[in-house]
Symmetry: C2
Subunit: 240 residues, 2 copies
């Protein structure tokens, strides 16, 4: 199939390109195929086309100067790449994109894409809407796993401290005072005291710890509940 | 000053609104003032205007169903709010926005804003560009603190384990084998084994740990380096 066939057979694509004359589409849309596990674009490098995935899957990965990488999202059918960079006139790609399996994209050169936005008002509106939709989705989730991880780390640390004191025996009744200060807990997890306080307050509100004159206490019942919560958070994490 | 005075005195605003007739601007731009520490919009609730900050600062906060919150960004002079939601036709705001000090915004109703995008092609292009610029900036950083935190947690856990064995004495020469499996380390931090392996490999490449037949070893020199790295990560974190 040619690009034009894909576009005319898919409602989403048809709407996206509805303002572009057929002749322009025929002239400028091309199919590009990436083999599995290939780099489609590398973070920071120039991307000179927009691409829409019409088969296969790819990973959106963020890499940082220190070599760490974080998978942001799986891209699949009808995911758009390159439009953020091209519309913002950014010099380099915001993320790295790697194909998972064989990926086919409908590609349009950056200059043609920008020309279409300038010539066809309706197309500019579609592009703006698609950008805003993905930005909304991304903002909505942004920070989720950061919060998740902080909470998990604090619970995990508290369990370790208490288990170290009790030797892991939960059968007996106890009510143990955590000797670690909030500052110490924060340093152990890499969070500031304000965040630690907020997280502790939440645990207290859920009756997972007790706070008395600023001191943290945990009884055997609460420890059990904390362990169950930790287990559940682990399960959630595996789903990501 | 009236909204129109602000717009005509600021190059950025002048360019953003250059395609909108002066009479339309006069009729539809209004100034809105929020007292310090007020909610401008709450995540999930409908926002029916776009606002551009012309004085004061606000926080962009993401809140999650379980009550956790994460500060994504500080908004200041010329930050735009509401455009993501209005252009994407989203039902609710992606984030919560709270004023830090007294905030003044130029506000335009959602219906007027969308009408302007439909009537004035140049304005639609500006809106798309501003959205793409912020999306690029946000994507570029997305996951950074997640990665940061994972790395910090692993280093911190390794230090704790070794310190527990040595009793905190670093003066002597030692080369200690970590008995914890990758699975155990992962469970302690809340990360899967694949991520743990990736992070361990990085530490090995930087000669901060040794790996021999799959087993993890740390000597006194490496422990000292790990503690310095942890300290540096903490300093970085305070800057966020």
């Amino acid at each position: 199939m040619e690009s034009l066939d894909y576009i005319s057979k898919n409602d989403y694509l048809k709407r996206y390109f509805e303002d572009i004359p057929r002749e322009e589409l025929r002239k400028h849309c091309r199919l590009v195929i990436y083999k599995p596990q290939n780099i489609i674009v590398k973070k920071g490098e120039h991307i000179n086309f927009i691409g829409i995935i019409i088969s296969g899957r790819a990973l959106l990965v963020n890499e940082f100067a220190n070599g760490n990488a974080y998978i942001l999202k799986e891209l699949k059918l009808l995911s758009i790449i390159g439009d953020i960079e091209i519309v913002s006139l950014a010099k380099g790609s915001a993320c790295t994109i790697e194909s998972i399996d064989e990926c086919t994209l409908i590609a349009v050169d950056d200059k043609v894409f920008l020309k279409w936005m300038k010539l066809y008002h309706g197309f500019a509106l579609h592009v703006a809407r698609r950008l805003a939709e993905r930005f909304h989705e991304s903002s909505n989730e942004n920070g989720k796993y950061m919060v998740y991880n902080s909470n998990y780390s604090l619970i995990s640390t508290i369990i370790n401290v208490v288990d170290n004191i009790t030797g892991g025996k939960t059968a007996e009744n106890f009510n143990i005072r955590l000797k670690n200060t909030r500052k110490e807990l924060g340093e152990r997890i890499g969070l500031n005291e304000r965040t630690i306080n907020r997280l502790l307050q939440k645990l207290k509100n859920e009756n997972l710890i007790s706070i008395n004159s600023g001191k943290i206490y945990i009884n055997n019942f609460q420890l059990q509940k904390l362990k169950e919560l930790k287990e559940n958070l682990q399960m959630d994490r595996r789903k990501i």
